[in-house]
Amino acid sequence: MKNTKSIAVGAVMLCSVFTASVASAATTLESVKEKGHLQCGVTTGLPGFSQPDDKGNWTGIDVDTCRAVAAAVFGDPKAVQFTPLTAKERFTALQSGEIDMLSRNTTWTLTRDASLGLNFAGVNYYDGQGFLVKKDLGVDEASQLSGATICIQAGTTTELNLADYFRAKGMDFKPLVFDTSEQTVQGFASGRCDVLTSDRSQLAALRSKLAEPDSAKILPETISKEPLGPVVRQGDDQWFNIVKWVLSVQINAEELGVSSSNVDDMLKSDNPNIQRLLGTDGDMGAKLGLPDDFGYAIVKGVGNYGEMYNRNVGPDTPLGLDRGLNALWTEGGIMYAPPVR
């Protein structure tokens, strides 16, 4: 009896030591400032989102989201280090504190938001799953795909979406599962399947890998919603707000016509919205624990949302994606950010 008591007391003491150390642990913003750089989790190589270029620099829209946060905190978009993560590792790396934020082509779902101890800080790309088909199949819409053999990459939500879609439509299909996207394209190119399915943002790139890209086309249907965005740990609302508002500032900047090329002129603007955005008026930064000109630093260093989009995935890049859903709400898309005021 005595023994169990002392064990219990010991356990309680041990626990209190741990909680004490957790309580005294610095906030994410403090620890980022102390390190002098932001540690950001990205993919191990996904065109347009995060991929090393031929100089070994990370490029992509997810990468630029990290750089924007670094610009907001340090005024320097280069004060960021990237941790390439596989799909399996990504949440653990964030939970364990190995990275400060995750910007890794991650779909915002209820399960992930509610049960992993994570918070999604917004959407930097609205994606959805689509189909690539051989033209000589004579298929114009997805409802004609009954009985088709479909190439998929293993272990992705793509697989589940596909099954859901076909079951809901009462059609059947034959899945042909590959390990990497490279193999999936090869399977499609060599005729082992009639259809290839993947996120729409990747379909154009996969199509361009075919020997004759014109022999295949992308079907108009989108069968799933894939809102992709940056993720932070739960329990640090200040950091959550920072990441959320960095993205909002970029979207607002595009809406207000502020870009990296005209941002210095815009500092003299009379528009109160722009003054608040760039920190010439008010103390928006201080409320987040950031310098007041954090908006200026983001737009100057990384650009507004439109620039970030066009540079990485836009019509002039090899991915060649139209803005579509990712256009501003004023231009027919759904990119809408709460006001900076």
Partner: protein, 361 residues
């Protein structure tokens, strides 16, 4: 042997005779020779065409790769990334210096009679890792620090394999001795260690080190992913090494142990001077075999997001600016691995010949 047989002009006839007796000795051998010869001849020409004759080696743009052959331009342009990963350009001389030291230490091992060969080899196993420990990460002696998340490519592959190899040999030796020890606690611990680590696949070890371990550590305490992977690889490799060396220990005749004891040698002297030199020489092929397999197994770090040479290639072959360059990428990786593994294998054969202790029959 008669006089006429000895004097027969062997040189002229030997190839013809060899061909006749080995390739065309019977009708089915003749058939096989013809069929295989045909396959080889028809495949060599297109292969050479693809590899060299029609391949693109230089250029500036992805569109320069218009020919039918391989697009080595892709490898050419990314070579820096494939070798150094994200290591900053202006600091790459530090990695180059390590490559040169590595070559200085080990290339002479292939050259018979090279002066101070033995000392260079010893330097490669002891001094080199110490220098590398200061050179690659930096941070001391005024060298700018480079975080391990920026290491990559061939350099990372070599670091993983090299540290795994030189750390596992002593640990493995101790474990092997421990397993044959007469002290039950030490023997028990060694057996448990070896059997646990040897029974799990490396991929599980890496995955645990990368994904599970950080969750068990107290908050705020984390050590780098590369360090976790290296510890995992070393412990796993040590267990294998221990079993190979135990094989050598058991093959030493009992008389050797008894003779050493009879000379009044203590345990460590007996092992260090008499038993281990013989045992290790005997199992060189086994040791090298595990080295080579470790060298290739390092590519598994891909699943924990470390960019070894295969990782760097795989992350860039999907670049939409290039047409299909996956095959070129993988051929390049295979070639790199072949060069190193073949080197290790030749070196071990060299060593075996030199250390031949007369146990062979």
């Amino acid at each position: 042997m008669t006089e006429s047989e000895v004097q027969r002009p062997k040189k002229a006839l030997a190839p013809v005779k060899w061909i006749r007796s080995n390739l065309f000795s019977s009708w089915y051998n003749t058939l096989l020779t013809v069929v295989i010869g045909y396959l080889v001849l028809t495949s060599i020409a297109p292969l050479m065409n693809w590899l060299f004759l029609e391949a693109t080696f230089t250029g500036a743009e992805p569109s320069d790769c218009a020919g039918e052959g391989a697009c080595w331009l892709f490898i050419n342009q990314r070579l820096n990334f494939f070798i150094y990963g994200f290591y900053p350009d202006d600091l790459q001389w530090r990695v180059d210096a390590m490559f040169i030291l590595l070559a200085v230490a080990f290339v002479p091992q292939f050259i018979e009679g090279f002066p101070a060969r033995k000392w260079l080899g010893i330097f490669g196993l002891t001094g080199l890792p110490v220098i590398g420990f200061f050179m690659i990460p930096g941070g001391l002696f005024g060298l700018e620090p480079v975080e391990s998340s920026k290491w990559g490519g061939l350099m990372l592959t070599l670091i993983l394999a090299y540290i795994g190899i030189i750390a596992s040999l002593p640990i493995g030796t101790l474990l092997a001795l421990g397993r044959r020890s007469e002290m039950p606690v030490i023997r028990g611990l060694s057996v448990v260690f070896i059997e646990v680590w040897r029974a799990v696949p490396l991929i599980t070890v890496l995955f645990m080190a990368s994904v599970m371990l950080p969750l068990f550590l107290p908050e705020g305490m984390s050590f780098e992913k590369l360090a976790r992977a290296l510890i995992g690889i070393t412990l796993w490799q040590s267990a294998y090494m221990a079993e190979v060396i135990r094989g050598g220990l058991q093959a030493i005749p009992r008389g050797q142990y008894e003779a050493a004891s009879a000379l009044g040698l203590g345990y460590w002297k007996k092992m260090g001077l008499v038993i281990l030199p013989q045992a290790l020489t005997m199992v060189i092929p086994g040791i090298v075999n595990t080295f080579i397999s470790l060298f290739k197994d390092t590519t598994l770090v891909l699943i924990i997001g470390l960019f070894d040479i295969l990782g760097t290639v795989q992350s860039t072959v999907t670049d939409p600016a290039w047409q299909n360059v996956a095959v070129e990428g993988y051929v390049f990786v295979a070639f790199c691995f072949w060069v190193f593994c073949f080197g290790i294998s030749r070196y071990s054969q060299n060593l075996e010949r030199k250390l031949d202790t007369g146990h062979k029959t």
